[in-house]
């Protein structure tokens, strides 16, 4: 091992030791904020459990001129108990309907084609055109899912009826066709109205395939890790004189800083292993982490690297310890809120939802969700490393700029 490599190796060892010296402070922050975040989690869970926030869905229906049959059918649908609980069909002119859709007063516009009901009766089935709102509210999600359920079940019913028709034709049982169609229509109609059957296999939720506990578990962990950055305010605080001295020794700024970031990442990573190891013995926790395995731990490393690089960037932006803590606290909370980690994003105004898409917290939440669901792919892993690298390079640039100044 040459002189420079030996120096780098000793520096790595010392920085690892330096990082592990922060463990008690990190642990203390974990304990303090666990209580706080646990409270937020429980409150959020209550919000999700309450149905009072779901409004009745208004759907604009545009009828062709003088199509009394269609208008009678929708007026009949409006009176049905199961429909009335969720939807109200409001007849409107086309321009008026789209204006309301734009203002988000209605969730969808259904444009009924000519001879719509006749088409259903004679089997030609001319489709109605449905335009949906761009808004990603809870009501909208419900309506989309209801529509998908309807289309899916109707399609299956029709395929079933046509298949039996074909069989009866091929066996020349022409007399049985009307009787069979009647029977199948009855069966399918009863089945269609029973939405439970559809939603047994298809999940409608605000938490993207995660259970509420998993969803808040992810937000909880992310916010806790972000807040724990407060404990390491001194870690990146560098003595300029020391930095210049180690540059003389052949350790360039890039190496000295990447060693620091990796050392701290490793320290966090090691800290998380016993946490997961202990949690795997508790069935209540284990049930929410069904894919807990060795790969789970390895996938956490790129995530931690990007978070630590983010800390480094904030440190370089703020320069002073107090400013760093303030900036970290404010940004962590705001970022997580805008990314839908505290309150599901569907409840947030659309402008905040759009802003959230560009925040690193959205990426981290998504990454952690994918780890839990075991759907992480190589490009996502690579993106996570790229995000961390971008933060690091930006921080390094600011670091060298401030040193130069």
């Amino acid at each position: 091992m040459n002189w420079r490599s030996r120096k780098l190796f000793v520096y790595l060892q010392l920085q690892l030791k330096n990082a592990f010296l922060f463990v008690p402070k990190i642990f203390l922050i974990f304990v303090i904020f666990s209580g706080l975040l646990f409270g937020i989690g429980i409150y959020g869970n209550q919000i999700l459990s309450e149905n009072s926030s779901v409004e009745e869905l208004s759907i604009a229906v545009v009828f062709p001129k003088k199509d009394y049959l269609s208008s009678m059918t929708f007026s009949f649908l409006n009176k049905m108990q199961s429909v009335r609980e969720l939807l109200t069909f409001v007849p409107m002119e086309r321009e008026e309907a789209f204006e309301h859709l734009k203002k988000e007063d209605v969730f969808a516009v259904i444009e009924i084609p000519d001879l719509f009901i006749e088409g259903i009766l004679n089997g030609s089935n001319v489709p109605a055109k449905i335009s949906l709102s761009e808004k990603h509210s809870l009501e909208n999600i419900l309506f989309r899912n209801l529509l998908d359920a309807g289309v899916s079940i109707l399609g299956t019913a029709q395929a079933g009826i046509y298949a039996v028709d074909d069989i009866l034709f091929s066996y020349q049982m022409f007399d049985s066709i009307p009787e069979m169609e009647e029977a199948l229509n009855q069966i399918y109609l009863s089945f269609t109205l029973n939405r439970d059957t559809y939603f047994k296999s298809k999940k409608v939720g605000l938490t993207d395939h995660l259970s509420t506990i998993q969803f808040y578990g992810v937000s909880f962990c992310l916010l806790l890790i972000l807040y724990s950055g407060m404990a390491i305010d001194n870690f990146f605080k560098e003595n300029v004189s020391f930095e210049k001295s180690i540059t003389r020794e052949g350790i360039l700024l890039f190496f000295s800083q990447i060693i620091k970031v990796i050392s701290l990442t490793f320290c966090y990573w090691i800290l998380l292993i016993p946490c997961f190891f202990i949690s795997s013995f508790f069935p209540d926790i284990r049930i929410h982490l069904p894919h807990l395995s060795i790969s789970f731990y390895f996938l956490l490393f790129p995530f931690l690297f990007s978070v630590i690089s983010f800390f480094y960037l904030l440190h370089e932006i703020s320069q002073k310890s107090n400013n760093y803590i303030l900036l970290l606290c404010a940004l962590s909370t705001i970022f997580l809120f805008c990314s839908g980690g505290i309150i599901p994003k569907q409840f947030l105004p659309s402008s905040i939802q759009k802003l959230g898409l560009f925040l690193p917290s959205s990426f981290w939440l998504n990454y952690l969700k994918k780890i839990i669901l075991h759907t992480t792919t190589l490009p996502i892993l690579f993106s996570c490393l790229m995000l961390g690298s971008c933060f690091f390079i930006l921080a390094l640039f600011l670091h060298s700029f401030s040193n130069h100044k």
Partner: protein
């Protein structure tokens, strides 16, 4: 400037500019082995810049700096081998222990370092009982001692010190003076900047850095490296 046999280091026409602003201009001098040279000057005259250049932490705009026959600006890796540097601000890792800091700068293994701390040049610093202390808990004087010890950990033939006794109490200054005397007695060569009379008295020769250039300053008639009256007169003349 030709290097004669006794010359250990020599600087030739060193200049430093920041943009259009010239900080140092045409600095040249020679130092023989075992000499102690002091650089005097007003605050902000460029003493630290000069030492940063001579230690390899800052590049000059022009000039040459020889260690024996090797131009160190051409071989920057040699700086850390031949020159120990104690900047004004202590170059220490504050969160880590005294031993960790020494270990980083020491050239040998951890085991050899412990031997050095009990028998070698580092023994003089008396760190043996403080090895596990975090640097952040040390006093200013101890930190300064540690900085000097770190610079000497590789046993370099030349030691550059930027105001080694600044803002330290009398006893610390005396201790530091004693370490430097011991280093000189071991054959070391020192180049220091200082405003402390006690430290300057260690020097064989002094230079005055004024108007961006280095002028010989020692009161050769009296053999006194620091004549306060002469110093003030020269400063007045040049300002």
């Amino acid at each position: 400037m030709m290097n004669d046999f006794s010359t250990l280091i020599s600087a030739e026409h060193i200049s430093k500019k920041y943009g259009h602003k010239e900080i140092l201009s045409d600095i040249s001098f020679c130092i023989a082995r075992g000499e102690c040279i002091g650089i005097l000057g007003k605050n902000g005259c460029g003493k630290s810049t000069l030492l940063n250049i001579l230690s390899g932490t800052l590049s000059p705009s022009s000039g040459k700096f020889f260690y024996q026959e090797q131009n160190l600006f051409q071989y920057p890796k040699l700086f850390s081998r031949y020159i120990g540097y104690v900047p004004q601000e202590n170059p220490l890792m504050e969160n880590l222990s005294v031993f960790d800091n020494l270990r980083f700068w020491y050239a040998g293994t951890g085991k050899n370092l412990k031997e050095e701390l009990t028998q070698g040049i580092l023994e003089k610093f008396g760190f043996y009982h403080y090895l596990k202390y975090p640097v952040s808990k040390l006093s200013g004087g101890m930190k300064r001692r540690l900085s000097i010890a770190c610079a000497l950990a590789k046993n370099p033939p030349i030691l550059l010190l930027d105001e080694p006794g600044a803002s330290l109490d009398f006893s610390c200054k005396e201790d530091i003076k004693n370490y430097l005397s011991f280093y000189l007695s071991c054959g070391g060569t020192i180049l220091l900047t200082s405003h402390e009379e006690g430290e300057i008295k260690l020097c064989n020769r002094t230079f005055l850095l004024t108007e961006r250039t280095l002028l010989p300053f020692s009161d050769e008639k009296e053999g006194n490296p620091f004549n306060k009256t002469l110093f003030l007169e020269r400063i007045k003349e040049n300002s």
